[in-house]
């Protein structure tokens, strides 16, 4: 019913949507801000190597460099697809 739809759309709060979107993009941009320049290239190479053995896509590999005081930790997170290796 049209008039009920009217009330429903009013319930959807666009300010909340704005906040959620901002929190995600800002967190993402902050995490890439302090990364060294070579990280995207490293990520690309890693994906190429892994793709030789397992069918993965770009967004299944996550490379992260975290600084903890004196040392840095390179974190490599690969999500394998459900069906296993390319034979």
């Amino acid at each position: 019913m049209a008039f009920l739809d009217y009330f429903r759309t009013k319930q959807k709060n666009s300010a909340n949507l704005a906040k959620e979107r901002l929190q995600i993009i800002v967190a993402h941009e902050r995490s890439t801000r302090e990364q060294p320049d070579y990280l995207p290239a490293l990520q690309k190479d890693l994906i190429e190597v892994i793709s030789k053995y397992v069918a993965i896509s770009q967004d299944q590999v996550c490379v992260n460099l975290e600084k903890e005081g004196e040392y840095s930790v390179l974190e490599l997170n690969i999500t394998f697809p459900e069906e296993q290796a390319v034979s």
Partner: protein, 290 residues
């Protein structure tokens, strides 16, 4: 080339009464059109009104506008770039405000390009201003190019002017990243720049309806100290039409909000106003008159 620590040393030799330490405040945002120049004019005037000798510098080389907002556009003879290039001395370029005591304006060049601002040149002019002024307010251009970098590079404090709107908030966060890495204080392992959020063009009615990000939302995302909230107000355009900083309109909500912000900047505890929905009179409520 003299460096800021040297200048601080010189300052320390004199008594505090004789020469209070100069503070450099950058008004920045990343995004354009959010109210940087309006804010620079208002807060600069506010600081001067409270008895602090203040200069506002326009860093927007090529697109100067502070002179118009301050109503001194016809008195510009020499500019910031002339001083940097040694074509004029500071006293020739500084414009004394006619309305407010203790207030001076250093206009940007309208004809040069932004590369005319060199780090050494800017530093030299700032060092010279430090001898005379308590507050140096740097009105940054939009964007993250050279003019914006030069405006923030030597800052002690930063006021991040933000609208309650997604692109402005994102750009503000980007600017915060630059303040923490690409400034004199960051590069020389000094205490970081103090960052303040100034939320402008705020409309409490729309926040109430869920149509606009609230102060709390923006504070949550940017995680910096709130300096103040300036309500969306007709008085801002009126002030710029007249070439008089909006803070001089002490009847207006925006003028009062800037006065509150100035006092907070000076360390006073002032309660936040203009963040609640305006109370409607009984006639408005009954007839919905706008």
């Amino acid at each position: 080339m003299s460096s800021p620590p040297l200048a601080n040393l010189q300052n320390a030799n004199k008594t505090k009464e004789e020469l209070p330490l100069t503070e450099i405040i950058v008004i920045t945002s990343g995004k354009g059109g959010v109210g940087k120049t309006t804010t620079s004019a208002a807060l600069g005037t506010g600081l001067a009104q409270k008895g602090h000798k203040t200069v506002i510098i326009d860093f927007d080389v090529g697109l100067r506008n502070l002179d118009l907002i301050m109503g001194c556009e016809r008195r510009v003879v020499y500019d910031f770039v002339n001083v940097i290039n040694g074509e004029a001395n500071l006293n020739q370029a500084l414009i004394k405000d006619k309305r407010t005591d203790n207030l001076f304006i250093l206009p940007a060049s309208q004809t040069r390009d932004k590369d005319a601002l060199t780090q050494e040149g800017v530093q030299r002019v700032l060092e010279e201003l430090k001898k005379d002024f308590e507050y140096i307010v740097c009105d940054s251009p939009a964007g993250i190019e050279k003019g914006a970098f030069m405006a923030m590079y030597f800052a002690d404090r930063a006021i991040i002017v933000t609208n309650p709107e997604v692109s402005s908030v994102r750009d503000s966060d980007r600017i915060l990243g630059l303040l923490q890495s690409k400034t004199y204080r960051a590069e020389n392992n000094q205490p970081p720049i103090q960052e303040h959020l100034l939320l402008t063009r705020y409309n409490p009615d729309r926040v109430d309806l869920g149509e606009m990000l609230s102060v709390e939302d923006v504070e949550d995302i940017l995680a910096i100290k709130l300096l103040g909230v300036i309500p969306e107000s007709k008085s801002v355009l009126k002030a710029s039409n007249q070439g008089a900083p909006v803070i001089l309109d002490d009847e207006s909500d925006a003028g009062q909000a800037y006065d509150d912000a100035t006092r907070r900047l000076l360390g006073e505890e002032v309660e936040q106003r203009f963040i609640e929905k305006a109370k409607q009179g009984i006639f408005k409520r009954m007839f919905g008159v706008r």
